[in-house]
Assembly symmetry: C2
DNA sequence: GTGCATCCGTGCGATATGTCAACAAATGTG
DNA sequence: CACATTTGTTGACATATCGCACGGATGCAC
């Protein structure tokens, strides 16, 4: 079935894009700012914003709009519909407790990985990660593992199309070398990252398969960078990850 | 300024209500199911759903729709715009580490408290709480403290209007007694809950004030229920909470 | 104050879209 | 298999809404 203009609602698309214009850099916006950021006409942006305010998704002080926590319902509605988080959470808790490190599960959404479950132990990252948090896929261990599950050509075009922004001096940004690392992850069945997201942080990830053998998500451990070489992570942590991977493979879908 | 029909966008309101029909109980819905749940005409629900699918907020297999992680962006957009989580996170981390217990900050949204930041230690609750998670205000320590900041008449009408569902045999559901406990929280400046949310779980909360003296949020500690009487929590944990409360009062807004 | 710039709210014609009804296909039922 | 029910889709019409343009308000520089 082909989608025609008759089958869609422009107003909804516009309103959602308005919500997405609110970022950490632009938490309070006037009508004109939202219009500029979303590419909508001011009159249209105004209608979207007033509608959001009327429904309780936004506050309006007569000059600026801000989003309200009500918007969070939309996101939690989504998380709640995913069976994955609830299935993996007990395993994450066991894993992180046994190893004394933070364990997480994420899935791919566009160019980002999205955390869907997490069991945090001591803090090694400067920012607090939580379900819903996003990180670029290309420089994270879970991202590499998830990208490795896609067709190679797809990955290649993705890496070429978007600018890859280095987050630390160690971040790999060369598409060719990234592709090589992703291939390596595909062949080995795991990925190790050494301080490419944040200095002092290493991580190791494995894919999570469902019963059909499809990649459903990625599981990782976040570790502080020590003196031992990054390759030691594989020996020390991979067996535990593989064990959870095998268990989840039995129960998923 | 009064809001007229000319100033709003029906399509946006309908689309958002469609998103909210997706819950843990209804993760996969057909057009007719969404129409019934949202009260929209089938044709209208269909347009909303096709639009969401077209924009990548939903998947469609020809029969059922599901939400995609892209919807999470809406929620995280909201969390990212809130200055509070980032301001309080370091304090939460310090507090939870020093006491070895989980600390959280939440705000009020309607009848629910919404977690906006959390630093988890050992697990005492059966469900994983995270930023964006919701619990009913009336039976939580943070909820009591936040309700105490509202006008008494407002609280009274809220407690009367909604049915108060007991979560454990210990949950208070009598409006009059709840009002008394909320008044107590207002007078004392803190609230203690003993296994009203979940058996085995106690918690103590204080309000977080901004520099103007307005209640900006609530801060709590989640504790496992032990043999000591619940009143002992006050002596053991209140000083640390008061300290963070005082520090945050200086830096907020 | 004047001129300039920006922003908000509003009126209007053109278009998009909601509502309702009808219909065909799918599904359930005896 | 015949029948009743539900579901997805389409068409037509009334209405909502878009995008544009204008006027008034506000703030700023000089």
């Amino acid at each position: 079935m082909t989608i025609t203009a008759r089958d869609t609602m422009g107003g909804l698309a516009k309103g959602l894009s308005v919500i997405e214009t609110f970022t950490a850099d632009h938490p309070r916006q006037s009508i004109a700012e939202v219009a500029a950021a979303s590419g909508l006409d001011r009159a249209t942006a105004r209608r979207c914003l007033l509608t959001l305010a009327h429904l309780g998704y936004a506050d309006y002080d007569g000059k600026f709009f801000t989003l309200t926590p009500r918007v969070l319902r939309l996101g939690t509605a989504c998380l709640a519909t995913m069976p994955l988080p609830q299935m993996v959470q007990p395993w994450l808790d066991k894993l992180s407790e046994a190893l004394g490190e933070s364990a997480s599960v994420s899935i791919l959404d566009g160019d980002d990985i999205v955390y869907v479950a997490r069991s945090a132990q001591r803090k090694v990252m400067s920012i607090a990660l939580m379900p819903g948090s996003r990180l670029p896929a290309f420089c994270t261990s879970m991202g590499r593992v998830l990208l490795a599950a896609l067709p190679e050509a797809e990955v290649e075009s993705r890496l070429r199309d978007r600018p890859l922004q280095a987050r630390t001096p160690l971040t790999l940004t060369d598409p060719a070398r990234l592709l090589a690392r992703i291939s390596e992850a595909r062949n080995q069945g795991f990925a190790v990252i050494d301080q490419e997201v944040e200095l002092g942080l290493r991580s190791i990830a494995v894919p999570i398969f469902d019963a059909h053998g499809r990649v459903a998500a990625a599981l990782n451990l976040g570790l502080s960078a020590r003196e031992e070489p990054a390759t030691a992570l594989e020996i020390r942590y991979l067996p535990a990850l593989r064990k959870v991977q095998a268990e989840l493979r039995k129960v998923l879908r």
